[in-house]
């Protein structure tokens, strides 16, 4: 069995995955994206499966596209990375599959974005369509804030920052939920508590186990199916009208979720990889 890991640096998650693999007698071949040269006509990779763990979304995306084009199975696939890496495409996939998600709009100029924000009503959440770790996600509380933030994005950012993704703000109870779905099963979930409205664990905050029976488990599976993801983390919000899916992550971090849930997330990822390699 030949299993590869596409990665940029060996972080704590990567170490945990290496350990889980060696416990199962499997060895990863490391494909360091800093050293890769892809020759489009002569493909040299022959792995049974490759796990993608890049830091940089664009490196992941291009590498997966090239690997999938030559028939190599990857976890996740290019299509999944493309949808999950873009909040706009994720929303469209969720809406198209009737998975409840906050209302959202897209506009391309500061002027039309302001129209969209005003018609949605404050507060709204402005997000870069592509981006992670909560970076540049802004809660906009009033018109002055909207004008300033839009102007900064349009003036200082690359053209990607002038694709304005505007989402209704969900008034959540001081926490959100992150669940982990592997191979069509919700294996565990955590509550993320924070005093800040952004509850990303990369930004601090505390965590606790969240039960996965009921809507959390069910909606997580539906969200994973909507984007086609084999190994994904789903962000859910408890809105006054019920649970909604906010985002789906395709290269998830999990170091803070093992202890509270008692679930061996890296072990489950490796078990799934072995299954894919053997199929």
């Amino acid at each position: 069995m030949k299993i590869g890991m596409l990665l940029s640096i060996v972080s704590k998650e990567q170490k945990m995955l290496f350990e889980a693999a060696s416990k199962r007698g499997v060895c990863f071949e490391r494909l360091d994206d800093r050293r890769l040269i892809f020759d489009l006509e002569n493909q040299k990779y022959n792995h049974d499966v490759i796990l993608e763990r890049c830091i940089n979304h664009s490196r992941a995306l291009y590498s997966l596209r090239i690997l999938n084009a030559s028939g190599i199975k990857t976890v996740n696939s290019y299509d999944v990375a493309r949808i999950c890496g873009n909040k706009f495409l994720t929303t469209m996939a969720l809406v198209n599959n009737n998975v409840p998600t906050p209302k959202a709009c897209v506009a391309f100029t500061a002027e039309s974005a302001l129209d969209a924000i005003e018609s949605m009503g404050y507060p709204v959440v402005l997000k870069p369509p592509i981006g992670s770790w909560g970076r540049l996600i802004a809660r906009i509380n009033d018109r002055n804030a909207a004008e300033s933030v839009l102007e900064h994005k349009e003036t200082l950012g690359s053209f990607h920052h002038s694709v304005f993704y505007i989402q209704e703000y969900v008034d959540k109870p001081g926490r959100d939920i992150r669940s982990f779905v592997i191979d069509g099963q919700t294996i565990c979930a955590i509550y993320r508590y924070s005093d800040h409205w952004k509850t990303n664990t990369a930004l601090g905050g505390t965590v606790a186990a969240c039960p996965v029976d009921g809507d959390v488990g069910k909606l997580s599976i539906q969200a994973a199916e909507a984007v086609g993801g084999d190994v994904v983390a789903v962000d859910l919000l408890e809105s006054p009208d019920g649970i909604v899916v906010n985002e789906v992550n395709y290269t998830m971090e999990f170091r803070n979720s093992i202890q509270p849930t008692g679930v061996d997330i890296p072990g489950r990822i490796i078990d799934y990889l072995i299954k894919v390699a053997q199929s």
Binding site: I37, S58, Y62, I66, M92, A104, V106, F108
Partner: protein, 283 residues
């Protein structure tokens, strides 16, 4: 028949397309992407077909994704625009379909990119993986220049500029050819004569009608079929022995090309769009 045209500015080409469409009795609605707010949870006004004429490639991709999800046929299809707006996706599609293109490598760091260039051998052409036209396209003759340009891209550019798309330089005898493909046919072609190594109309190249030979038509059409079909320009290089497809892009410069070739390209496009609707949205 109701046709929606998504655009950012009404240029000469859009004027001619609108006039051709009205001439055929179509209802034309322009959707200005600088004004429109696109709601993701509900479908907008319904059209029989949407023709995309955005200036900005990324806006085009987003807007076409929306209509795609809503089941409204678009020209071009979203996947086609996404492919021709990205040089990696274009080359993979060409490779899968056996269409000849100059040798290519992709790398993510200046170190690995330099190694790739040395393997191909100078001169090489470095292009942004996304983008159209000749912006930031560089011909690199030797290692020192390579290292300098790679450093500038890494330090000054956004992370997109650190996806290094490296192409073998193909010597072409003074001219590059641009074919206009509409569906199954190359409706017109032009050649650009220039002293600069990048054959470009914008740089003051001399544009002439290029006869559409069977061979030219076959290569250009197979290139467009490879990316999913539709309407596109195909930039090609002809050497003494072989044709190469250099890249593809949205159908722009229609008015100038129509004047040079005597072919009414906007009319051909509108006929194609009408045909798509008659066939129930299938390309």
């Amino acid at each position: 028949m109701e046709i929606g045209i998504v655009l950012s500015r009404i240029r000469k080409d859009e004027k001619r397309l609108i006039s051709e469409a009205s001439h055929r009795g179509f209802g034309v609605t322009t959707i200005d992407n600088t004004q429109q707010v696109f709601k993701l949870n509900s479908c907008p006004d319904s059209f029989d077909v949407v023709l995309e004429r955005c200036v900005d490639h990324h806006r085009a991709v987003y807007v076409l994704s929306l209509f795609d999800y809503w089941g409204i046929p678009t020209v071009n299809q979203q996947s086609v625009v996404e492919t021709y707006g990205n040089r990696l996706l274009t080359n993979l599609a060409l490779k899968d379909n056996g269409v000849p293109f100059p040798e290519v490598r992709l790398a993510y760091t200046p170190g690995s990119a330099l190694e790739a260039m040395e393997t191909i051998g100078y001169p090489i052409v470095l292009r942004p993986v996304e983008g159209s036209g000749n912006q930031l396209v560089s011909r690199i003759q030797e290692k020192h220049t390579a290292a300098t340009i790679l450093e500038h891209k890494r330090i000054l550019g956004t992370y997109h500029h650190s996806i290094f798309f490296i192409q073998k330089y193909i010597e072409s005898p003074g001219h590059d050819i641009r074919a206009f493909v509409v569906g199954d046919q190359t409706v017109a072609a032009i050649s650009v004569l220039t002293h600069h190594w990048i054959g470009s109309i914008a740089d003051g190249g001399l544009v002439e009608n290029e006869p559409v030979t069977e061979e030219l038509n076959q290569i250009a059409v197979s290139a467009v079929k490879a990316i999913g079909g539709g309407i596109a320009v195909v930039d090609m290089i002809r050497t003494k022995t072989q044709w190469y497809v250099q890249e593809m892009g949205p159908p722009t410069g229609l008015s100038e090309a129509s004047d040079v070739t005597g072919v009414n390209i906007p009319q051909k496009i509108i006929e194609y769009v009408a045909n798509i609707v008659e066939q129930g949205g299938k390309v």
